[in-house]
Amino acid sequence: MSGHTEHTTPTGGYEPKIMAFVCNWCTYAGADLAGTSRMEYRPNVRIIKLPCTGRIDPLFIIKAFENGADGVLVSGCHPGDCHYTTGNYHARRRWIGFKNLMEFAGIDMRRLHFSWVSASEAIKWVDLINKVTDEIKALGPFMEYKGLKEKSAEQGE
Amino acid sequence: MKIRLGNEDIQSASVRRLERITGEDVKRCYQCGNCSGGCPVSYAMEIPPTKVMRFLQLGNIEEVQNANSMWLCVGCLQCYSRCPQGVSVAAILEGMRQETLRKGESRTEVKEVPFPFLKKAPQQAIVCGFRKFVG
């Protein structure tokens, strides 16, 4: 789909783009609370809401990088707090095998962040986004997948 | 007795050292008193087992070192076998004894042991006793 906003701010500096996969019950609500509390954080993150981190398919993350993300954040309920009792536990278990896949796919694990943010942890959310943004910014743009999407488009995927 | 407590007491390096030597965690003791209740020599100890654990929790290792408790412990493991928290006061006391012996101090001089005893006693008592009292 159409071009996403550029990797540069109006003033010209590099601004990373970060995709966040969050669960509906904890982290999404925590981010909402940051809003209702009028906290401020870096504008680099775009949230995709899922029912549970257990829904996250590793391919989502790879696709996010393919689509120009410089970093990806996954955040859900704290262990033991999952709305679906064990969904986040499943997610975490899956990450173990998943890490290898990411490295195999050439993704620097430093670009991938996992966290737990509960519905009341607005401050944690704000700090997290600021921290992740700064870290990804320091890493610079993610170039490995540059052009990959266009290429696959050419091949008529 | 009055105790002045500071962070350095609670985080006492010597207690941490003792924990390393003995593999015990003094925080585990919840002061139930079972060990003191069951220890056969607790009656003669200046500081009974439960209090030993408490002093260590407070970081006051000297208090215990100066008492007779570690020299009286017979190693019967009654404390350990009934401690609901699985703490071995016996190991703690042995650790403290070792520390002291390694510094070359002891409560029993070999010459103090009555000679007739050495002649008649089972070897195991002598071996064990020397290990415990002399190092």
Partner: protein, 289 residues
């Protein structure tokens, strides 16, 4: 059936009667105790602090020697049993320590030997039924206190010879021999152990409690499994009696002496004269000797 046997230093000397009566009895119930060709003192103390690996080398040496003679090892002294069994467990379960220990003793021992106390051999290999069937001189009418002491039982997780707080193995044996085991309060309490060396007061108190509770429960005889228990009880007995609590001494013997007696061995060979308490009046009274 030949079972490798570790006597330990005490049974080689002051507790010789413990050793000889056991060997004799073994042959009467159908097994042979094969003394290890090479052995050393086990150290008589299991180091309670895990950093003391050196303390494990002596028993490890014994174990490694034993492994060359078979897959089981039996022993009589409760202390040896305790030290060997626990050391063996460390070597078996803790790879790191195993390597250190093997380095010291210059052997490659992996903890595979099965340590059995003589009581366990009787219970699990021979069977108390068979023991019972072999009895020629039942200890009929003798109320016997079975004094376990500490080392035969604790720590339960490592030793596991029987239930920690309510063991019965010893009573079961005495019952098989025709005696009447008495239940007494201090049967698993300490006798004072190595404090014999420098604290007579404590030893007299603790041993005194063991004996008064046994005799108070009706015991006419106290049976032990450990030379140190035997020593402490016998040594304390006169003092306890002197203290004027109305306690009157009873014979204290090793369980193997009781066993040999019941299996019909010549009384003269059981080494009762080496005990400092005298069992003969009791045996006469009961019509056994």
């Amino acid at each position: 059936m030949k079972i490798p046997y570790y006597p330990g230093c005490t049974l080689n000397t002051v507790a010789k009667q413990f050793d000889t009566s056991a060997r004799e009895s073994a042959s009467s119930v159908g097994f042979e105790m094969k003394e290890l060709a090479q052995w050393n003192c086990c150290g008589a103390t299991f180091p309670l602090t895990p950093d003391n690996v050196i303390g494990l080398t002596a028993p490890a040496k014994v174990l490694s020697n034993a492994s060359k003679e078979g897959d089981t090892l039996t022993t009589l002294c409760a202390v040896c049993y305790n030290v060997l069994k626990r050391t063996n467990k460390v070597i078996r379960d803790n790879r790191e320590k195993r390597n250190v220990i093997n380095g010291f003793i210059e052997e490659e021992y992996d903890g595979s030997v099965n340590i059995l106390h003589y009581l366990e051999v009787l219970r699990d290999k021979v069977g108390f039924d068979k023991v019972k069937a072999s009895v020629k001189r039942p200890l009929k009418g003798i109320k016997a206190a079975t004094y376990y002491g500490c080392m035969l039982l604790r720590p339960f997780e490592d030793i596991g010879i029987d239930k920690a707080e309510r063991p019965t193995i010893f009573e079961d044996l005495l019952a098989a021999l025709g005696a009447e085991p008495v239940e007494f309060a201090n049967k698993i309490e300490c006798c004072g152990a190595h404090l014999a060396m420098n604290n007579e007061e404590v030893v007299t108190t603790l041993s005194g409690k063991v004996m008064t509770s046994a005799v108070g429960a009706g015991a006419e005889l106290i049976v032990t499994t450990c030379p140190l228990c035997q020593f402490n009880l016998e040594k304390s007995q006169p003092k306890v009696a002197e203290a004027g609590s109305g306690y009157s001494p009873v014979p204290v013997i090793y369980f193997t002496q009781a066993l040999g007696l019941a299996l019909g061995q010549d009384i003269a060979t059981l080494g009762f004269e080496k005990n400092s308490s005298d069992i003969m009046p009791l045996l006469k009274k009961k019509g056994i000797a």
